[in-house]
Symmetry: C2
C-alpha cells in the first residue's frame, strides 16, 4: 500500500472515531494501523486499528471499518501448551457489523462480497451486531466480518494479540502492519 493511501485512510478512520465521540491522543491518531492484508484492495478488504494496550495477558483495540469493508476470514490458532489461541470479544460501538463464524450457514446473509473475494470466505453463520451488542469468539474458530453501509467501529477486548500467528483462509494474505 502506498504511503499516501495509508495516510488518507488513517485520516478517514480518525474522523469516524471523532464523530463517534471516541477520543485519541494526537500520537495515537497518527499511528492508526492501516491493514490491507497485502491484497491492495483496501476499499473492500481492510481494517483500521488503534491498539490501546497489548501485553502478555490482555489486549484492547478499536477497529474502524469503512462502509462494507471486510476483515478477511481467519482463526487464532493455539500458541503453546498453556495458550489455546487468542479469544476475543467484539463490541460494536457505532454502525453495524455482519460477523460470520463456524456453524449452520445463514440462508440469506446480509454481507455483500465482491465475486473475487468470495472463494476465501468459507464460514457463513451470521451474527448481526448493532451498537451496544457484542459477541465472544472462542480461540481457533474461523471468522470474518463486514461493516454495514455506514461503516462501523468495534471495541475488541481479547487475550494477548499476536497478529503474526493468525491463519488466513486466503493464502495470498500477508498480515503486515502498515505505518506511515
Amino acid at each position: 500500500m502506498k504511503k499516501s493511501i495509508a495516510e488518507k485512510m488513517r485520516r478517514r478512520a480518525s474522523g469516524m472515531l471523532k464523530r463517534a465521540g471516541i477520543i485519541l491522543t494526537r500520537d495515537e491518531a497518527a499511528a492508526i494501523e492501516v491493514a490491507d492484508f497485502g491484497l491492495n484492495d483496501i476499499e473492500h478488504v481492510g481494517l483500521e486499528i488503534v491498539t490501546y494496550e497489548n501485553n502478555s495477558r490482555y489486549c484492547a483495540k478499536e477497529l474502524v471499518m469503512f462502509p462494507r469493508q471486510i476483515c478477511p476470514e481467519h482463526r487464532h490458532p493455539p500458541l503453546s501448551a498453556g495458550n489455546s489461541g487468542k479469544q476475543e470479544t467484539f463490541r460494536v460501538r457505532w454502525g453495524k457489523v455482519f460477523l460470520y463464524t463456524e456453524g449452520e450457514p445463514t440462508p440469506r446473509p446480509k454481507a455483500r462480497v465482491p465475486e473475487r473475494h468470495r472463494k476465501t470466505l468459507t464460514v457463513w453463520r451470521e451474527i448481526v451486531l448493532r451498537p451496544g451488542q457484542q459477541y465472544t469468539l472462542p480461540p481457533n474458530t474461523l471468522h470474518w466480518f463486514q461493516a454495514g453501509d455506514e461503516g462501523a467501529i468495534i471495541s475488541e477486548f481479547s487475550s494477548s494479540s499476536d497478529d503474526a500467528s493468525d491463519v488466513f483462509t486466503e493464502p495470498a494474505i500477508q498480515r503486515i502492519p502498515v505505518y506511515a
Copy 2:
C-alpha cells in the same frame, strides 16, 4: 445501600454514559453495578460499573464516577502460582481522573478527600488522566482514584477480574456488588 438509592445512581450513571456517546443495551443499563464498598457514603466513595466481559483470560468494564467520587485504595494480590494478580489499564473516555499509586508522593495533589476517608489513603503519587490518556497498573500495586469536578468515565481493560480477592486498605470495606 437502599434499593432506591442504587436505582437512582444507576439512572445517573446511565445518563452520563449516554451523554458520552457510549451505548448500552437496555439489559446492561438495568444491571449497572452500584458499589458503595459497604461505607454507605456513595456520593464520596463509590463506583458505577458496567462489565462487558469477564472470563478466565481478560476483562473489560466501563467505570462511571460521579463528580469527585473516590474509588478507595486497594491492590489486586497474587492469586496462584501462575497468576500474579489482576493487571489493569485505565483509559479515560470522558472527564478527568486523579489516579494515585505507589511511589514518590506528589507535593500538591489535586484530589479532594473528606477528612474521615483520609487515613485509608496511603499512596500519593499522582497521575492525572484526561480523555484519551491511559495508565497500566502492575499487579499487587496499591492504588485509588478520584474523578474531577465533572465526574469521569473510564474504560478498564484487564486480566481476569475477581473483586472478592481485592485487598482494601480500609478494613471496614466490603466489596459486595449491589444490584436492584
